[in-house]
Protein backbone atom coordinates (compact mmCIF):
# COMPACT_ATOMS: atom_id res chain seq x y z
CA UNK A 1 0.00 0.00 0.00
CA UNK A 2 1.32 3.43 -0.85
CA UNK A 3 1.61 6.24 1.68
CA UNK A 4 -1.06 8.18 -0.27
CA UNK A 5 -3.47 5.25 0.29
CA UNK A 6 -2.72 5.35 4.02
CA UNK A 7 -3.57 9.06 4.11
CA UNK A 8 -6.83 8.33 2.27
CA UNK A 9 -7.81 5.32 4.44
CA UNK A 10 -7.27 7.37 7.60
CA UNK A 11 -8.87 10.52 6.13
CA UNK A 12 -5.63 11.99 7.40
CA UNK A 13 -3.67 15.16 6.94
CA UNK A 14 -0.14 14.81 5.56
CA UNK A 15 1.98 17.18 7.66
CA UNK A 16 5.28 16.53 5.91
CA UNK A 17 6.71 14.07 3.39
CA UNK A 18 4.98 14.81 0.07
CA UNK A 19 7.88 13.09 -1.68
CA UNK A 20 7.01 9.91 0.24
CA UNK A 21 3.46 9.56 -1.15
CA UNK A 22 4.38 6.79 -3.61
CA UNK A 23 6.50 4.78 -1.16
CA UNK A 24 5.17 1.25 -0.54
CA UNK A 25 4.44 0.15 3.03
CA UNK A 26 3.56 -3.48 3.77
CA UNK A 27 3.30 -3.58 7.58
CA UNK A 28 2.13 -1.50 10.53
CA UNK A 29 2.86 -1.16 14.23
CA UNK A 30 0.51 0.57 16.67
CA UNK A 31 2.19 1.48 19.99
CA UNK A 32 2.53 4.22 22.57
CA UNK A 33 5.53 2.65 24.30
CA UNK A 34 8.65 3.26 22.28
CA UNK A 35 10.64 0.39 23.83
CA UNK A 36 7.95 -1.95 22.54
CA UNK A 37 8.46 -0.48 19.07
CA UNK A 38 12.18 -1.16 19.37
CA UNK A 39 11.62 -4.70 20.64
CA UNK A 40 9.05 -5.56 18.02
CA UNK A 41 9.60 -3.82 14.70
CA UNK A 42 11.68 -5.64 12.12
CA UNK A 43 9.97 -4.71 8.87
CA UNK A 44 9.36 -1.53 6.91
CA UNK A 45 6.35 -0.35 8.91
CA UNK A 46 4.10 2.62 9.34
CA UNK A 47 4.11 3.52 13.04
CA UNK A 48 0.75 4.53 14.54
CA UNK A 49 1.05 6.23 17.90
CA UNK A 50 -0.69 8.55 20.30
CA UNK A 51 2.64 9.60 21.77
CA UNK A 52 3.17 13.19 20.71
CA UNK A 53 6.70 13.99 21.86
CA UNK A 54 10.12 14.09 20.19
CA UNK A 55 10.83 10.50 21.27
CA UNK A 56 8.28 9.12 18.81
CA UNK A 57 10.10 10.78 15.89
CA UNK A 58 13.52 9.83 17.30
CA UNK A 59 12.53 6.20 17.86
CA UNK A 60 11.10 6.01 14.35
CA UNK A 61 14.31 7.46 12.92
CA UNK A 62 16.47 4.96 14.81
CA UNK A 63 14.31 2.08 13.58
CA UNK A 64 14.38 3.36 9.96
CA UNK A 65 10.60 3.89 10.13
CA UNK A 66 9.74 6.42 7.43
CA UNK A 67 6.02 6.99 8.11
CA UNK A 68 4.49 8.05 11.44
CA UNK A 69 0.74 8.48 12.04
CA UNK A 70 -0.50 10.40 15.08
CA UNK A 71 -3.90 9.03 16.10
CA UNK A 72 -6.82 10.40 18.16
CA UNK A 73 -6.74 13.81 16.50
CA UNK A 74 -3.40 14.73 18.01
CA UNK A 75 -1.41 17.37 16.20
CA UNK A 76 2.37 17.32 16.71
CA UNK A 77 4.03 20.70 17.31
CA UNK A 78 5.99 22.41 14.51
CA UNK A 79 9.42 21.47 15.89
CA UNK A 80 8.50 17.77 15.78
CA UNK A 81 7.29 18.07 12.21
CA UNK A 82 10.53 19.88 11.34
CA UNK A 83 12.61 17.09 12.93
CA UNK A 84 10.66 14.50 10.93
CA UNK A 85 11.20 16.55 7.77
CA UNK A 86 14.97 16.70 8.41
CA UNK A 87 14.91 12.92 8.81
CA UNK A 88 13.08 12.45 5.49
CA UNK A 89 9.90 11.05 7.05
CA UNK A 90 6.21 11.37 6.26
CA UNK A 91 3.99 12.45 9.17
CA UNK A 92 0.21 12.02 9.10
CA UNK A 93 -2.43 13.13 11.61
CA UNK A 94 -5.78 11.32 11.79
CA UNK A 95 -8.98 11.88 13.72
CA UNK A 96 -9.40 8.15 14.29
CA UNK A 97 -8.53 6.32 17.52
CA UNK A 98 -5.69 3.78 17.55
CA UNK A 99 -8.19 0.92 17.25
CA UNK A 100 -10.09 2.42 14.34
CA UNK A 101 -6.96 3.64 12.55
CA UNK A 102 -5.35 0.16 12.76
CA UNK A 103 -8.63 -1.43 11.67
CA UNK A 104 -8.96 0.86 8.67
CA UNK A 105 -5.41 0.10 7.52
CA UNK A 106 -5.97 -3.64 7.95
CA UNK A 107 -9.19 -3.42 5.99
CA UNK A 108 -7.43 -1.41 3.29
CA UNK A 109 -4.88 -4.18 2.83
CA UNK A 110 -1.98 -3.84 5.26
CA UNK A 111 -1.58 -7.29 6.78
CA UNK A 112 2.03 -7.35 7.98
CA UNK A 113 2.91 -6.53 11.55
CA UNK A 114 4.55 -9.64 12.90
CA UNK A 115 4.15 -11.69 16.00
CA UNK A 116 6.33 -12.22 19.03
CA UNK A 117 6.54 -15.29 21.25
CA UNK A 118 4.88 -15.06 24.66
CA UNK A 119 7.66 -15.17 27.24
Amino acid sequence: MKVRDIVAALEGILLTGEDMLDVDIEAACGADLMSDVMAFVKENVVLLTGLVNPQSIRTADLMDIRVVVFVRGKMPPKDMIAEAQRNGMAVIATKYSMFLACGRLYEAGIRGGGTREIR
Binding site: S35, D36, A39, T59, D64
Partner: protein, 142 residues
Protein backbone atom coordinates in the same frame (compact mmCIF):
# COMPACT_ATOMS: atom_id res chain seq x y z
CA UNK B 1 37.28 6.71 15.30
CA UNK B 2 35.94 7.87 18.65
CA UNK B 3 32.88 10.05 19.31
CA UNK B 4 32.08 11.50 22.71
CA UNK B 5 28.88 13.15 23.99
CA UNK B 6 27.73 14.76 27.21
CA UNK B 7 24.22 13.48 27.95
CA UNK B 8 22.26 15.88 30.17
CA UNK B 9 20.15 14.34 32.93
CA UNK B 10 16.37 14.66 33.26
CA UNK B 11 15.94 16.47 29.93
CA UNK B 12 13.89 14.13 27.80
CA UNK B 13 13.60 16.62 24.96
CA UNK B 14 17.29 16.06 24.17
CA UNK B 15 17.41 12.36 25.01
CA UNK B 16 18.29 10.20 22.04
CA UNK B 17 20.27 12.85 20.17
CA UNK B 18 23.65 11.20 20.85
CA UNK B 19 22.33 7.87 19.55
CA UNK B 20 20.90 9.54 16.44
CA UNK B 21 24.27 11.22 15.75
CA UNK B 22 26.16 7.95 16.18
CA UNK B 23 23.70 6.26 13.82
CA UNK B 24 24.30 8.91 11.17
CA UNK B 25 28.09 8.80 11.63
CA UNK B 26 28.12 5.01 11.18
CA UNK B 27 25.91 5.39 8.10
CA UNK B 28 28.31 7.90 6.56
CA UNK B 29 31.18 5.46 7.15
CA UNK B 30 29.34 2.75 5.25
CA UNK B 31 28.86 0.37 8.20
CA UNK B 32 26.46 -2.55 7.59
CA UNK B 33 22.85 -1.30 8.11
CA UNK B 34 21.92 -4.25 10.37
CA UNK B 35 24.83 -3.49 12.69
CA UNK B 36 23.93 0.21 12.65
CA UNK B 37 20.35 -0.50 13.71
CA UNK B 38 21.41 -2.85 16.51
CA UNK B 39 23.94 -0.28 17.74
CA UNK B 40 21.41 2.55 17.54
CA UNK B 41 18.65 0.69 19.42
CA UNK B 42 20.94 -0.55 22.19
CA UNK B 43 22.57 2.87 22.60
CA UNK B 44 19.22 4.69 22.54
CA UNK B 45 17.84 2.49 25.32
CA UNK B 46 21.01 3.08 27.34
CA UNK B 47 20.80 6.81 26.69
CA UNK B 48 17.18 6.91 27.86
CA UNK B 49 18.15 5.04 31.03
CA UNK B 50 20.99 7.48 31.56
CA UNK B 51 18.60 10.42 31.30
CA UNK B 52 15.73 8.88 33.28
CA UNK B 53 17.62 7.08 36.06
CA UNK B 54 21.28 8.09 35.82
CA UNK B 55 21.14 11.89 36.08
CA UNK B 56 23.04 12.16 32.80
CA UNK B 57 26.61 11.21 32.00
CA UNK B 58 29.05 10.63 29.19
CA UNK B 59 28.47 8.50 26.10
CA UNK B 60 31.31 7.36 23.86
CA UNK B 61 31.28 5.38 20.64
CA UNK B 62 34.43 3.77 19.29
CA UNK B 63 34.50 2.26 15.82
CA UNK B 64 37.19 -0.19 14.81
CA UNK B 65 37.27 -2.32 11.64
CA UNK B 66 35.52 -5.26 13.30
CA UNK B 67 33.23 -3.76 15.93
CA UNK B 68 31.52 -0.77 17.56
CA UNK B 69 31.94 -0.27 21.30
CA UNK B 70 29.50 2.07 23.08
CA UNK B 71 30.25 3.10 26.64
CA UNK B 72 27.60 4.91 28.70
CA UNK B 73 28.80 6.10 32.11
CA UNK B 74 26.26 7.83 34.38
CA UNK B 75 26.39 9.50 37.76
CA UNK B 76 23.20 7.93 39.08
CA UNK B 77 22.23 5.82 42.07
CA UNK B 78 23.27 2.51 40.52
CA UNK B 79 21.16 -0.62 39.98
CA UNK B 80 20.44 -2.43 43.28
CA UNK B 81 19.23 -5.71 41.74
CA UNK B 82 20.61 -6.28 38.25
CA UNK B 83 18.96 -9.65 37.74
CA UNK B 84 15.55 -8.10 38.41
CA UNK B 85 16.34 -5.12 36.17
CA UNK B 86 17.15 -7.46 33.27
CA UNK B 87 13.68 -9.00 33.42
CA UNK B 88 11.27 -7.94 30.65
CA UNK B 89 8.49 -5.75 32.03
CA UNK B 90 10.26 -4.80 35.26
CA UNK B 91 10.62 -1.04 35.63
CA UNK B 92 11.28 1.49 38.36
CA UNK B 93 10.45 4.43 36.10
CA UNK B 94 7.92 6.92 37.50
CA UNK B 95 4.50 7.47 35.90
CA UNK B 96 5.55 10.64 34.06
CA UNK B 97 8.22 8.67 32.22
CA UNK B 98 5.59 6.16 31.06
CA UNK B 99 3.55 9.07 29.77
CA UNK B 100 6.59 9.96 27.67
CA UNK B 101 6.55 6.51 26.05
CA UNK B 102 9.26 4.85 28.12
CA UNK B 103 9.48 2.84 31.33
CA UNK B 104 7.98 -0.34 29.85
CA UNK B 105 10.72 -2.45 31.42
CA UNK B 106 12.16 -3.29 28.01
CA UNK B 107 15.31 -1.16 28.06
CA UNK B 108 17.92 -3.57 29.37
CA UNK B 109 16.36 -6.61 27.61
CA UNK B 110 16.38 -4.61 24.35
CA UNK B 111 20.06 -3.80 24.87
CA UNK B 112 20.88 -7.45 25.52
CA UNK B 113 18.92 -8.53 22.45
CA UNK B 114 20.76 -6.16 20.14
CA UNK B 115 24.28 -6.28 21.53
CA UNK B 116 26.80 -9.03 20.86
CA UNK B 117 28.25 -8.27 24.29
CA UNK B 118 26.65 -6.30 27.12
CA UNK B 119 28.56 -5.43 30.28
CA UNK B 120 26.93 -3.59 33.17
CA UNK B 121 29.11 -2.31 35.96
CA UNK B 122 26.96 -0.74 38.66
CA UNK B 123 27.89 0.44 42.13
CA UNK B 124 25.03 1.61 44.36
CA UNK B 125 25.53 5.28 45.18
CA UNK B 126 28.23 5.79 42.55
CA UNK B 127 26.72 5.13 39.16
CA UNK B 128 26.45 2.68 36.32
CA UNK B 129 28.61 2.07 33.28
CA UNK B 130 27.04 0.13 30.44
CA UNK B 131 29.28 -1.20 27.68
CA UNK B 132 27.65 -2.37 24.45
CA UNK B 133 29.66 -4.22 21.83
CA UNK B 134 28.26 -4.80 18.35
CA UNK B 135 30.36 -6.89 15.99
CA UNK B 136 30.28 -5.68 12.41
CA UNK B 137 28.80 -8.44 10.31
CA UNK B 138 27.59 -10.04 13.55
CA UNK B 139 24.36 -11.87 14.34
CA UNK B 140 20.90 -10.56 13.44
CA UNK B 141 18.52 -9.30 16.14
CA UNK B 142 17.78 -12.11 18.60
Amino acid sequence: MKLCYDVPGADLSLAGKASAEVKRALGRLGVDPGAIKRTAVAMYEAEMNMVIHGGGGVATAELSPDRVVITMADRGPGIPDLELAMREGYSTAPAWIREMGFGAGMGLPNMERNADELHIDSTPGKGTTVTIVVNLGGVAQK
